[in-house]
């Protein structure tokens, strides 16, 4: 999605004596203010081999990246179009996924997309506030030694393989969610979301998946936010302190606003993982192609989990159908990231980047 930024050729300085300048800003200015007559395009004897190597290799990496992206997009699109043209149902509205050999092909993305978005949303709602809290505690409240230890633990959580999370989720979290679900049903059943149509059923539900995903994305959001919080310049915190701000008020007036775009980026990294998580979801969920807003009921399905469970049983066009669902996941991720970038760009001049 970075294609406009990384498109390299015209941006790479060709005249070696300009390479020392920062790439975007002062190039033209420095040339204008030069007292000497304007230098020729290439000054003899000043071409450094290292400069050329670096310019060439960075340009090369940019091009390779673009080619790979384009190849993936073309592959996904061709196979998807093929699958959708063989679909007996409607790709957007059919609530089933029959891609096994022999049976008539009939599949739709709606339930999968719903399950993906709901579980990721639950994960974000739980994980983002907790992650920001933990990151703030590490960066601004905890004594230095404790902060370091906590930081290590958080980083360690990020290193646990997702299948381990999945096993833990299925064997520990799911049984323990029974009580939570009953409680939610009793006091928040009226919201419909937490109402249960079959109380007492094993909660292999989208909600349990969301809770598990929240734990999985917590470390990445925490780690990135913590770095951002530590980068807030001291002078802004002192400005708030000198006005008579308490520690929380310092955080509210100078740390959080300064870190805002960083928090959004961190959350997007977490969301990306939540949307694409496969093994942990497949281990916990008992998949069914039901679209229900009772999120604590067992059932539901996500795109990535569906691909993992169906892939072995599908052949030919059936596999193409799974690829089509992958393309939808790709598009959802793109849209979410684009939205986040818009939010960041909207208040760019207040971002602190130009201070």
């Amino acid at each position: 999605m970075d294609t406009p930024d990384t498109a390299p050729p015209q941006d790479v300085p060709t005249s070696p004596d300009l390479l020392a300048d920062s790439p975007d800003g002062p190039r033209r200015g420095s040339r204008m203010s030069d007292a000497r007559p304007a230098p020729g395009k290439r000054q003899a004897g000043k071409v450094r081999i290292g400069d050329r190597l670096f310019a060439g290799s960075s340009r090369g990496s940019g091009i390779v990246l673009l080619v790979v992206m384009a190849a993936i997009a073309v592959f996904l699109t061709i196979r998807s179009v093929n699958a959708i043209s063989h679909d007996q149902g409607n790709f957007l509205t059919t609530f089933e996924w029959n891609t096994q050999e022999g049976a008539p092909l009939s599949f739709g993305i709606a339930v999968l997309a719903f399950g993906t978005i709901v579980s990721a949303l639950v994960a974000m709602i739980i994980a983002v506030p907790v992650a920001i809290g933990v990151a703030l505690f590490i960066s601004h409240y905890a004594p230095r030694r404790m902060a370091q230890a906590l930081g290590y633990v958080i980083d360690l959580l990020a290193a646990v393989p997702s299948i381990v999370y999945g096993l833990w989720g299925a064997l520990f979290l799911v049984p323990h969610m029974l009580g939570v679900n009953a409680w939610l049903n009793q006091y928040f059943g009226w919201t419909y979301l937490f109402g249960q149509s079959q109380p007492g059923a094993q909660p292999r539900s989208l909600f349990s998946v969301g809770v598990l995903l929240a734990i999985m994305i917590l470390p990445i959001i925490t780690a990135v936010s913590r770095e951002i919080f530590l980068q807030v310049p001291k002078m802004y915190e002192e400005a708030a302190l000198a006005l008579g701000a308490t520690r929380w008020e310092v955080i509210r007036t100078s740390v959080l606003p300064f870190a805002r775009s960083g928090i959004i980026s961190a959350s997007m990294l977490g969301l990306g993982r939540a949307l694409g998580e496969t093994m942990a979801v497949a281990t916990v969920l008992s998949p069914s192609l039901l679209l229900s807003f009772h999120i604590t009921d067992p059932g539901g399905s996500t795109i990535a989990q569906n691909i993992a469970t169906q892939f072995g049983e599908s052949q030919g066009v059936g596999r193409d159908a799974l690829i089509a669902s992958g393309l939808v996941l790709f598009i959802i991720t793109l849209l979410v990231n684009g939205g986040a970038r818009l939010i960041i760009a909207r208040r760019k001049e207040y971002s602190g980047a130009n201070a």
Binding site: Y236, A239, L243, G244, P257, F258, G352, N354
Partner: protein
């Protein structure tokens, strides 16, 4: 509004290092007191002990007494947050909140004090910006980011932010050292006007500036690097710059230092 500061036997530490040793002085209300002295002599550290900003650095602590009229700022049960609301501070580098507009910057202190009334806030913003000689330059763009102003304007914005909460004392830590001469002149004129209302303490490396803006001048020095800074003398500014009572002061002022 302005109050007198009485300091007695003040020591300031960073961990086990004593940065400032045994300082006693009086800062008169409604006047400008300038602190001068070589780098590292503890004048900024001392300034930051006056509104309890010193102790926000990890490991830093203070011994001694700072009386604001009849109240010991380091007494038991005194809330440092409350002290900082009474004693405002302007820093060396202009530091308006980058995520706030000009108006929000000036109103930041009021908001912290719980002033919610929109009319009161608007009045205070206008009064403070006028007080900081910035109103005419920014009145048409109060909703623009404060970080978009020039350095001198940003510093006056910080002064407006500090005086918006009507402090008793205004501390300035080298407020002009990052500014060009014209912006410096604007700030110096402003200091002359502000002393009608506030007790002002200013740290400066620029001796002409001390001579121009202050009524009293304190000279700080340190005997060697790694030794704590000390107050050498404090007196009327004309006396310090014409006929100081200590030889070291005269050496420093006439540039025959060290």
């Amino acid at each position: 509004m302005a109050k007198r500061i009485d300091v007695s036997g003040l020591n300031a530490y960073y961990g086990s290092f004593r940065a400032v040793e045994d300082i006693s002085m009086t800062v008169e209300p409604r006047s400008v007191t300038a602190f001068i002295g070589p780098s590292g002599c503890g004048k900024s550290t001392f300034l930051r002990t006056l509104n309890r900003m010193h102790e926000v650095v990890p490991g830093a602590r203070v011994e001694g007494k700072v009386m604001l009229d009849n109240e010991d700022l380091y007494g038991n049960g005194i809330d440092p947050v409350a002290v900082r609301r009474t004693i405002g501070m302007v820093f060396q580098r202009p530091n308006p909140f980058p995520t706030m507009s000009i108006k929000e910057n000036v109103a930041a202190g009021l908001k912290l004090n719980g002033v919610r009334n929109k009319k009161l806030v608007d009045e205070a913003v206008e009064r403070s910006l006028k007080g900081a000689n910035l109103w005419n330059e920014v009145k048409d763009r109060l909703d623009r980011p404060g970080a978009g102003l020039s350095g001198g304007q940003q510093q006056r914005l910080c002064i407006a932010r500090a005086i918006a909460v009507e402090p008793q004392v205004l501390l300035m830590d080298e407020p002009c050292s990052a500014l060009d001469p014209i912006s410096t002149l604007a700030i110096e004129d402003l200091i002359g006007e502000l002393k009608e209302q506030f007790t002002i303490v200013i740290v400066t490396h620029n001796m002409q500036q001390a001579a121009r803006v202050s009524d009293r001048t304190a000279f700080f020095n340190l005997s060697a690097v790694g030794q704590p800074g000390r107050l050498i003398e404090i007196d009327a500014t004309e006396k310090i710059f014409s006929n100081p009572s200590v030889q070291a002061t005269e050496d420093y002022i006439s540039g025959r230092f060290g």
